[in-house]
Amino acid sequence: MKRLIFILSLVLAVPAYAVQPDEMLSDPALEARAREVSKDLRCLVCRNESIDDSNAELARDLRILVRERITAGDSNPEVKQYLVDRYGEYVLLKPLTGGVNWLLWGAGPLMLLIALVIGIGYLRKRQSGTETPVVALSEEEQTRLKEIMGE
């Protein structure tokens, strides 16, 4: 159930399973680069899948496009830029760091910093604090205690 929607997107895609032998470049070095680039590119009609993993027709077209650009002599960043120019930054699975995205990339370290400051503050306080006295029982509990004690 967890993946139902994810699966449904696979349903809509159908046959052709991920990278096909006929798409692959004969030069293993170039092919390896193509695979690496493909892993960072989103299959636009899928749910959070890279074009390298996806079975969709569109993913196949994009894989072939990536290989065309690589064969044409583009560097990896240039290939990605080529796709971003056409499909927008939505196509990148690894978001850019620029603009407001610093919030996304910085959120983890920032939160860690805050947590550490609070945590250390707390630990210091526990180090020097005094043992607080035990809270006395309420009247009701006193009666109950007496009952239990058999009085």
Binding site: P15, A16, P95, N101, E141
Partner: protein, 655 residues
Amino acid sequence: MITELGHFALILAFLVACVQAVVPLIGAQKRWPGWMAVAEPAANLQFLLTAFSFAALTYAFVTSDFSLRLVVLNSHSLKPMLYKVSGVWGNHEGSMLLWVLILSLFGAMAAWFGGNLPPTLKARVLAVQSAISVAFFGFILFTSNPFLRLAVPPFDGQDLNPLLQDPGLAFHPPFLYLGYVGLSMAFSFAVAALIEGRVDAAWGRWVRPWTLAAWVFLTIGIGLGSWWAYYELGWGGFWFWDPVENASFMPWLLAAALLHSAIVVEKRESLKSWTILLAIMAFGFSLIGTFIVRSGVITSVHAFANDPERGVFILAILAVFMGGALTLYAARAGIMEAKGIFGLVSRESGLVVNNILLAVSAFVVFIGTIWPLIAEIAFERKLSVGAPFFNMAFTPFMLVLGIILPVGAMLPWKRASLRRTIKPLIPVLVLALALGGLAWAVQSGRSLLGPVGVFLGAWLVFGAAVDLWGRTGRKDRLARLMRLPRADWGKAVAHAGLGITMLGIAGLMAWEEEDIRVVQLGEPWNVAGFTLELTEVNRVQGPNYFSTMGTMELSKDGQPISTLHPEKRQYPVARMPTTEAAIDNGFLRDVYTVIGDPQDGGGWAVRVYYKPLANWIWGGSILMAIGGALSLSDRRYRVAAGARRRQAMQGVPAE
């Protein structure tokens, strides 16, 4: 008729839940024993009615009653019995019914096993739990009723999605829901304690088993889902950082944090305020997960329009429960003063660091999951956040967690000497570094991921062993080892399991090899030192599918290892194909084969993967779950009633 009775029982359960949510709460406030006592029978009744309703729906699926809309959409008369049953929860409406069934089961269990709870706390816990039930009964009855009939029933159903017709996935949702919903108990205890105005060691002891159980179920559920993805989706991926996966992972991380911080509350009466907040947040993330899965809002903002009613309803539930609980928390947090005093180097501090790492890493997953939504709504940037982001932003936290874990686990309470704690761990550290270095030397010139994984795995596994061994004292060590409390064993097993999972993930990601090619029948080829040969391809007919089944001979150095049968299935009713990978499972590696389409020039597209340490990922998950279960069966939970009596005699407020 049974369907109508089931529907009716569901409505009755809704009404009972309404009563249970209100009456005991007033009773506890006014100290009216009669009103408080309503909670227990109401919880039982609510569970029985929901169980009947669920049974009625199951009956409809098992007998293929195609007058029921849900059965038509998700079942077929030819479907194997297992999947007729699992079809009950393989859809939105039925899975929500399973959700409330588990919710009311947990409520009833709190009533059965809560004999040693103070009456007011018990009444409040059951009332809060029931309030959650009310919300979800309402959700089902008003937006997702599973008992709707069709005026003109068809001859047969539309079948369950074939990808879901799999044993791994049949049991994946129930475990996941047991986990999600189990966290509702921690939430109910937290809110009840806030209303009550008292959080003490006893509270920590009560809330911990529920959290532990929820965490164990989540571990199993997530493990099953990931295992299923590995063998079913056809390329051996085990984790995709998909929003829906993240939805289950965030509660898992927070539950892990919570079950550790509850130890501090139980043993040292500190970290109370944080533990309460964590209990609220953990269930909050379960609800957020439900929202993400049911509304489809994260996948695409536009999907929201498809089913606004359901999404808005869950959002309202989320707002009411989180808003209410957090307001209550803000008002009452002040009264929860910490008691224990401890040094900067102590078990307490170690657990604080554990909580910081787990909570912040959950926060990172959360930000990554909802960022596309925020960016689009607030900044008009349409972007994606995928696996590369999570791998970079999340992994460092797990790395640090793994490095400090064995030390933190061995630190004594209150005040510790770092040097004395580390001393017995030095041989382990040397061994782990040596193994990591060995891996690095052998692989020559690849990424550091694999060696780091080997180091972490060895460090955690042997560290856990040293911890356990260190508890045996000086004489009769073996005999004492067997007599150690199960909680100690549970801790060691779970920590070792984490190490094994980390090693499995790192090893698989670093050393995987892949081969995609067109092969002709009878022409062998080599992958990662193995030889494969496709000997034949046959058409086979299954109970409700047709299959193209390849036969592959796997061998190494001329020695045959096994015969594999990768399949490509076509389900005619659902009109969809699936791949059934054939995997040769080994202790240290899997060989994973998939058959593709026939090629125009003859031959078949075939992909073969060499997947080192793949099984260790799930082996480690199983160990973590076993560790949790061991800890759950510890004596101190079984004899909690006796412990309470002792506490009462010492004059510590246990009630």
